[in-house]
């Protein structure tokens, strides 16, 4: 087990593929040519299609349900009712269900409008299933509902989830999370100035391009399942408890390419319920069953930052922040780990902090980590720092540098901490901001708020924010590598969700460099189920856990190959043959470009392919021995390893976050229309070590576009009278297009080597999309000189802020 809390003590001496730009994407041709298969594309002989009834009310219970007409509709093969006596009351559904309690696979009570519940129709086509759903007659018991956290908090408000929370709409009947550092009262007393402000973030969601879906086929007692799931290992775990128990070794998963869900769908506590229903009906009908959600049903839950955030901040006029107090009231948050002042605690020297979160149940879908759960904390850091800079009349970059640190400690202690862990004294934030400022020409372009009108009549604004890099959370992975017969190529074995972050190539790069193989000789198909599972992009980590497991496995495997190279080959009952390198010890050898060579004389070597030899006619290893002739062959060359990471976001965080990110935004605001034009963006991320730089950059520009899309447009709108979501489709719920982030996005990577991951890396996937979500606020303020505290910042809100409407 690698102690990865400190600086990597065993780095590679040289890198060949690690850090290289431009290795061909493993998934590239599949995806560009339309050959990439997704669960949505799966069609099996005799397959049936399952669709769900949706609640027309935001809070209602089924009193009676008549499904007879649907059952006899031509083409319908099964109607599964919530009150089917064979359905269990509750079933294990996933990691987060502890908070809700294990839910029923199919509920008879709806807690938000559009909730898939009550009945599932299974038919020979999706269209017939849809038509048959219309024939189900339900008598509903309509219940009062809440759509807004503030009114749901009031005394006498109707209960949103009375089954789980019979006393009030407060999570746990009280405070959801509370965090104290120092003493805020003392901090406010010491402060030269105190400000108070509040902002709102409206509900938004993940928009997974591939809709939630799954296919279930029973082959006798073997369950074969295709899943759209970021955490396939959890499907297997839960499925093994369903239907009276299915042995783990009789579950065969397929996790095809995944049309992304940014953490959202997988975190919905009962996301496996439809799969349970599909398996249930597959058993009843003897046919494969595919369930699909509609696009509207994918608007099923929301990101966990919807809410109201109230701040009191004390600071000195030189930009030193002394105390931050925050009370946030969030909607339907499902786990209590992320206080809104969390990033201020993790990334700054601000000594006095107090944060509390109330999670209030309202009749909308569950609010789950959606790239990602750090949204409340990063929105807050951006708001606090940009407010303080504005109040002091200072450059916000200066205020950031002044307050950089960790858990209330300043620069000196921070440097001491880094040194103690074996790292050089690198000032990650300083490096990030210097590079970013130069790229966006900050010193020339930044100005006092509301002071610059451009020749085109628009107001010009500059925004800046920063925080730590957090993608090295706790997690675990089991990964194996096998050298194939015949050609000596290496296959990485471990199932995970490939949702496009190009992680698989990154793992191949690590394995190639560690094993001494050519990159084209290493491949990885994470869609197969070999019984090993890795971190998929989830739980805020991927590379920083899996990378270690790959590296361990590669080093073990390399040693095994070199040991085999000096050991007798072709061992059978008749004896053995001479070693490939009879006069060497393993340490005399190395592997370079897929060739086993003598270190002393690299020209003497044998390729890994020639070493492992071809498969035999009779079995995978050798053909019959006859006439004195025998094949040379090696033992199977296979190694596995695992890694368990006690990284950040462990309950007892083992070390401070050491790496930083900084983002710069240039906007123009049309004061006649309220439109915001993004002229230029610069993302700077200290990723520790950029193993696959193009993949990192993909998360930078991709995250910028997603983040700005949320900041500009995204909000689910509900009718306050009926509780019905009005824009649950992609025409009315806008996400950014090619035309909506107008200017270039410069991506800069800093490599300080201070992450938890192998070679000092830290992941990047969640960071930019999350941090950029709030950056429009300070940029628009810098342009128009008025704060808009209601996100998303739509043209209407800009015009209101300007007093034009």
């Amino acid at each position: 087990m690698q102690d990865n809390l400190r600086r990597d003590p065993f780095p590679l001496k040289t890198y060949k593929h690690i850090g290289e730009r431009g290795p061909r994407r493993l998934d590239g041709y599949h995806k560009a040519s339309g050959r990439a298969d997704y669960t949505m594309d799966v069609q099996l002989p005799g397959m049936l299609y399952m669709r769900f009834l949706n609640s027309p009310f935001p809070h209602a219970k089924i009193k009676t349900m008549d499904t007879r007409e649907a059952e006899t509709f031509p083409g319908v093969r099964y109607v599964l009712r919530y009150d089917n006596p064979e359905l269990p009351e509750r079933a294990s559904m996933g990691k987060l269900t502890g908070i809700y309690g294990d839910p029923p696979p199919l509920s008879g009570i709806a807690h938000f409008e559009g909730e898939p519940m009550g009945a599932a129709v299974v038919a020979v086509s999706e269209e017939i299933a849809e038509d048959a759903l219309e024939l189900i007659r339900v008598e509903w018991e309509e219940r009062p509902f809440n759509l807004d956290v503030l009114t749901a908090m009031e005394k006498g408000a109707p209960l949103s989830y009375p089954e789980m929370y019979p006393d009030s709409n407060y999570w746990n009947n009280g405070l959801f999370d509370e965090m104290t550092q120092g003493n805020v009262k003392k901090g406010f007393k010491q402060s030269e100035k105190i400000i108070e402000f509040e902002f709102n973030r409206r509900s938004h969601t993940w928009i997974g391009p591939e809709r939630p879906c799954g296919v279930f086929r029973w082959k006798g007692d073997v369950a074969e399942v295709w899943v759209k799931q970021q955490r396939p290992h959890l499907v297997k775990k839960n499925l093994s408890t369903w239907y009276g128990g299915v042995p783990m070794n009789k579950i065969q998963l397929h996790c095809l390419y995944q049309g992304a869900s940014f953490g959202g769908w997988v975190q919905v506590p009962w996301n496996m319920g439809p799969l349970y229903c599909a398996g249930f009906v597959s058993k009843k009908t003897g046919r494969p069953v595919k369930y699909t959600f509609t696009r509207r049903e994918d608007f099923y839950g929301e990101s966990m930052d919807e809410g109201v955030y109230r701040f009191k901040v004390g600071f000195n006029m030189d930009g030193t922040i002394l105390a931050v107090e925050c009370s946030s009231i969030c909607a339907n948050q499902i786990f209590p780990v992320f206080n809104a002042v969390n990033h201020i605690r993790e990334s700054t020297r601000v000594p006095h902090l107090y944060g509390k979160i109330f999670s209030i149940w309202i009749n909308k879908g569950p609010a789950v980590p959606t790239r990602c759960e750090q949204l409340p904390a990063t929105l807050s850091l951006t708001a606090v720092f940009s407010r303080v800079a504005a109040e002091c009349g200072l450059d916000p970059v200066e205020v950031a540098l002044k307050n950089d640190g960790f858990e209330g400690h300043g620069k000196d202690r921070f440097e001491k901490e880094k040194k103690g862990l074996g790292f050089p004294a690198i000032d990650s934030l300083k490096e990030c901001v210097e590079k970013g400022k130069a790229a966006i020409d900050w010193d020339d372009k930044w100005h006092r708020p509301g002071t610059k009108t451009l020749p085109n009549g628009r107001m010009h604004g500059m925004g800046f924010t920063w925080t730590n890099e957090w993608d090295d959370s706790l997690g675990s992975a089991e990964i194996a590598i096998r050298i194939e017969r015949n050609d000596g190529t290496a296959s990485i074995l471990s199932m995970g969700c490939d949702n496009g972050v190009e992680a698989e190539n990154t793992y191949c790069m690590i394995a190639a460099d560690e094993l001494g193989l050519r990159l084209e000789d290493v491949s990885y198909n994470p869609q197969l189920d070999p019984g090993f599972f890795r971190m998929s992009p989830d739980s805020s980590t991927n590379l920083s856990v899996n990378g270690w497991a790959i590296r361990h496995a590669s080093r073990i495997l390399k040693q095994r190959i070199l040991e085999a190279a000096v050991a007798p080959t072709a061992k059978t009952q008749r004896g053995s043959m001479r070693p490939a390198f009879p006069d060497c010890k393993p340490e005399d050898l190395d592997i370079v470009d897929s060739v086993i060579v003598k270190k002393a004389d690299p020209s003497e070597g044998i390729s890994v392919a020639d070493f492992v030899r071809e498969a035999g006619q009779s079995g995978p290893v050798t053909s019959t021995e006859s006439g004195g002739f025998r094949w040379a062959f090696t033992e199977p060359l296979f190694a596995f390893s695992y890694h368990v990471q006690m990284g950040s976001y462990n309950p007892e965080n083992p070390r401070p976050h050491l790496t930083r990110q900084a983002h710069f935004l240039e906007v123009e605001v049309d004061t006649d229309t309220g439109e915001i034009f993004v002229v230029k963006t610069v993302n700077v991320n200290d990723v520790g070590k950029a193993i696959n730089p193009m993949s990192c950059e993909g998360q930078q520009y991709g995250g910028t576009i997603m983040g700005l899309s949320r900041g500009k447009f995204e909000e689910m709108i509900y009718d306050p009278v009926t509780g019905v979501m009005l824009n649950g489709n992609l025409l009315d719920y806008k996400i950014a297009t090619t035309l909506d982030v107008e200017g270039p996005i410069d991506t800069i990577l800093v490599e300080s080597g201070m992450g938890y991951g192998p070679y000092g890396s830290v992941g990047i996937g969640e960071d930019v999309g999350t941090v950029m979500t709030g950056l429009l606020g300070p940029a628009v303020f810098n342009a128009i000189g008025v704060w808009i505290d209601d996100h998303p910042i739509t043209p209407e809100k800009v015009l209101k802020a300007l007093g034009k409407i």
Binding site: G22, R24, R25, D27, G28, Y29, H30, K31, A32, S33, G34, R35, A36, D37, Y38, M40, D41, Q43, E127, W206, I207, G208, P209, E210, R211, Y257, Q258, G259, A260, F262, T294, R295, N499, G500, V501, E502, M694, S695, E697, G698, Y701, G702, G703, T704, I705, M706, S709, N729, L730, L731, I735, A736, T737, T738, L739, V741, P744, I745, G769
Partner: protein, 206 residues
Amino acid sequence: MADHEIKPSICPYCKKEFDSIDAMKQHVFKAHRGSDPPSPEGDIRLNINGNDYYLSVEPRWTLYDVIHDRLGLTGSKQFCDRGACGSCTVIMDGKAVLSCMILAIECDGKAIETVEGIAEKNHPLIESYVKHHAMQCGYCTPGFVTTSKALLDRNIHPTENEIKEELSGNLCRCGTYPQHTIAVLETAEKLRTGKADGAEKAQGDG
């Protein structure tokens, strides 16, 4: 005549009626030997990626349903459900169209190109897309490829703004937009300079 009784057999080529199937078969053998297969009445003909398909379709099936579900050309994807995302884009008679917004019966006789056809022809767009990471989860990628191909078919000198404008109907949630512009500009350059021929064959590692 009761429904279950066999009706006189009709020659699918010349519509002549016969008393029995065997008599009709004899006639076809003699009179129409060597002819192309007849188009069954009520079927539609789609020419997809250069191949003719004769299909019996339900009136409500969309072109997407036929291409994706019936013909198994699963490169066309459905991201939204109402012509808002561009993922189901195919090229019909030279124009990029949304296959989920067109009824299949309206497409009788049309020539259609899907992403699979573009890849089979080793169009340089494919390699440019791979090289520049113009994809992440990849679900929307085929729609971008088909839309870009339609643009390049009619304009080999697109500007950056023209490309952005053309692709503005294609949604990508992973935010890969900047790479599409780079990939399409590079492809246009390859097509102009002829570098796409021979040396720039797409590697069909699928």
